[in-house]
Amino acid sequence: MLANYLIGLREGLEAALVVSILVAYLVKSDRRHLLSRIWLGVAAAVLVSLGFGALLTFGPRGLTFEAQELIGGGLSIVAVGFVTWMVFWMARTARGLGGELRGRIDAASEGSAWGLVLVAVLAVGREGLETALFLWATSRATSSDGGSTWTPLLGAVLGLATAVVLGWLIYRGAISINLSTFFTWTGAFLVVVAAGVLAYGIHDLQEARFLPGLHDLAFDVSHIVDPNTWYAALLKGIFNFTPQTTVLQAIAWVAYVVPVLTLFLVGARRRIRPAAPASPSLATTTPSKDAR
């Protein structure tokens, strides 16, 4: 029960975090009109994952191991690109909080809106297939397939639900702090999350032998951080921290975090210092596109 609960929590956590931060940002920066699209993207990703998982579980065809790893690894690396873009987009648009200016930014960045949707889709869909396969396995255990028991399914669903609740709590917390603080912290946090996703993707590709060096470990703390514990599940779920990390994973992590975080924090500091109060200029009132 607990073990399956932790798997559900672990698999659901990262998606819940990314989506809740994204939603909090849109709410805070007064772009609620984009929320419906985000939820649509999330729902689509969930349904596609579940459908694809069901097809592979119960259908006539399975997926080869290499293909599964390639999808996981490939999507991870694409997701990193999008999350990175979102962090900088948030930072850039956070400046345009004066109503007019912002309206113009939004009008000019319809493409960005779809980009955000894609972030949500990737956050959910990246591990969606693995999670779906796991969920279908738990549901199959409830059927008459020998071990007729419904506790695994309950555990898995409760774990996913906990991830959603944690995401919601992050959202509640996030919308109550001031915006510049909010996006500096969440931005930095997302950079670290994205680095974890990158390292994870690298590991997948190493397992599929698409990349070498699966057995060259940078460190192994599996005797200290037992992966069966709740904190290990949290570490893996949030930061994709694995007790056994390969050299290539570590290099990729550092090579991503150092420049991106530096760029982001330098930019954030530059933006916070002027602390320009949002003064809606009444001179040019262009009709805003988005009806509010």
């Binding site: 399956n4 006539p60 693995e130």
Partner: protein, 385 residues
């Protein structure tokens, strides 16, 4: 933007292309390419150890209390052929892989840590069954015992190397010299296994005389020269910082070696070959005094090589008897004993006399005894497989 879309689409399309047929589900017994695996907290039950090549389906059931993973690994125990993760308690998940004929390793990993519970797995070209050499139970026992011996020696090597490196780096040279040969004994007993790792052996056991051009000299013998510099010409002792560098490097490689050895298994022919290989080590390095050029502790290594060879031989000896090769067994028994008697003559305290104390005649005597044992030992592999 669109490019990214395309990437995602391309991934999905390639995913669909990478599909493989699920075997007919339902009755597992009906299909010889379906393997039932039951993973418990301390066991990994694989319904069959040999299947015909093709698309295999491992139906992995977790009957334990911890989350488990199942791997199909290559013969080296490193390459992942297929894996299925996140198998919670009471769950069953399938691994479908296309597997060409060859030797593989199955592994359940309850608790998601460590090397997993491993077993050999054979994928055969045709449906012919292999003829078992000797009694299968005897073979399995021999393989198990030998693996346990190698792992134990490797653990002891790590323990003593740790102490040795500490002493050496702390400048306690007398104590380090004392421990040098005693620690190396564990290396020499399993030298053929240790040498099988081509990336570690040159870093750990290279002799100065055998260095390739441009190869950096590290490991045991580099430190040996620093501890016994008396016969070296124009030798500059290592600084404390250099000692730390070489010491830490040796320890790091010993740790890597130990972690790799812990997941090794050995077949009967490997054991027999290893036994022969250890005797060759004696003939080419120890009996000539080339191995320990500075410390002259060659006889310790000599004895350790013989120990390892004897353990390997003793392990497969019952198979020899099963195969009706008792004559070879008797010959080997007596040759081992003769060599041991000779070695005993040079014992001194817990160890041996320095190689430099041996007369030319004594060296020749030892060399003859080694050759007398090597000859029947070279027939061992063919006799046990």
């Amino acid at each position: 933007m669109t490019l990214r879309h395309l990437t995602a689409v391309a991934l999905l399309v390639s995913a669909l292309a990478a599909c493989t047929s699920n075997s007919p589900s339902g009755d597992a017994k009906g299909d010889e390419r379906t393997i039932a695996v039951t993973s418990t907290d301390d066991g990994c039950e694989v319904s069959t150890a040999e299947v015909p090549e093709g698309a295999l389906t491992f139906k992995v059931k977790n009957a334990g209390t911890k989350v488990t993973e199942f791997y199909l690994l290559g013969e080296d125990g490193l390459r992942i052929v297929g894996e299925v993760e996140n198998i919670g308690p009471d769950l069953a998940r399938d691994l479908v892989v296309n597997v060409p004929a060859g030797s593989y390793t199955t592994a359940c990993k309850p608790g998601m840590v460590g090397e997993g519970i491993r077993a050999d797995f054979t994928v055969a070209t045709s449906k012919g069954s292999t003829v078992a050499a000797g009694d299968q139970a005897t073979v399995a026992q021999a393989e198990k015992n030998y693996a346990a011996y190698v792992k134990d020696q490797s653990d002891q090597l790590l323990t003593k190397t740790t102490t040795f490196v500490d002493l050496y780096e702390a400048g306690k040279d007398d104590e380090a010299r004392e421990l040098y040969a005693q620690a190396r004994v564990h290396w020499e007993r399993i030298e053929t296994v240790a040498e099988s790792f081509g990336d570690l052996d040159p870093k750990m056991d290279a002799r100065e005389a055998d260095l390739e051009p441009g190869q950096k000299w590290t490991g045991w013998h580099r430190i040996e020269k620093d501890l016994w510099p008396q016969e070296a010409k124009d030798y500059t002792p290592l600084t404390d910082a250099e000692r730390t560098t070489f010491g830490d490097d040796l320890l790091k490689n010993t740790k890597t070696l130990d972690s790799r050895i812990q997941k090794m298994s050995f077949t009967v022919d490997q054991i027999a070959n290893g036994s022969r290989g250890l005797l060759e080590e004696v003939a080419t390095g120890k009996v000539t005094g080339e191995e320990e050029a500075w410390s002259h502790t060659d006889l310790w290594d000599f004895q350790a090589n013989v120990d390892g060879a004897k353990v390997g031989y003793d392990g497969v000896r019952p198979i020899l008897m099963d195969n009706g090769n008792s004559a070879l067994a008797r010959q080997l028994d007596s040759r081992f004993a003769e060599l041991q008697d000779l070695l005993d003559e040079h014992k001194k305290g817990d160890g041996f006399v320095s190689y430099t104390d041996l007369s030319k005649d004594e060296v020749k005597e030892l060399s003859d005894a080694v050759n007398a044992l090597s000859e029947p030992l070279s027939k061992l592999t063919a006799a046990v497989v």
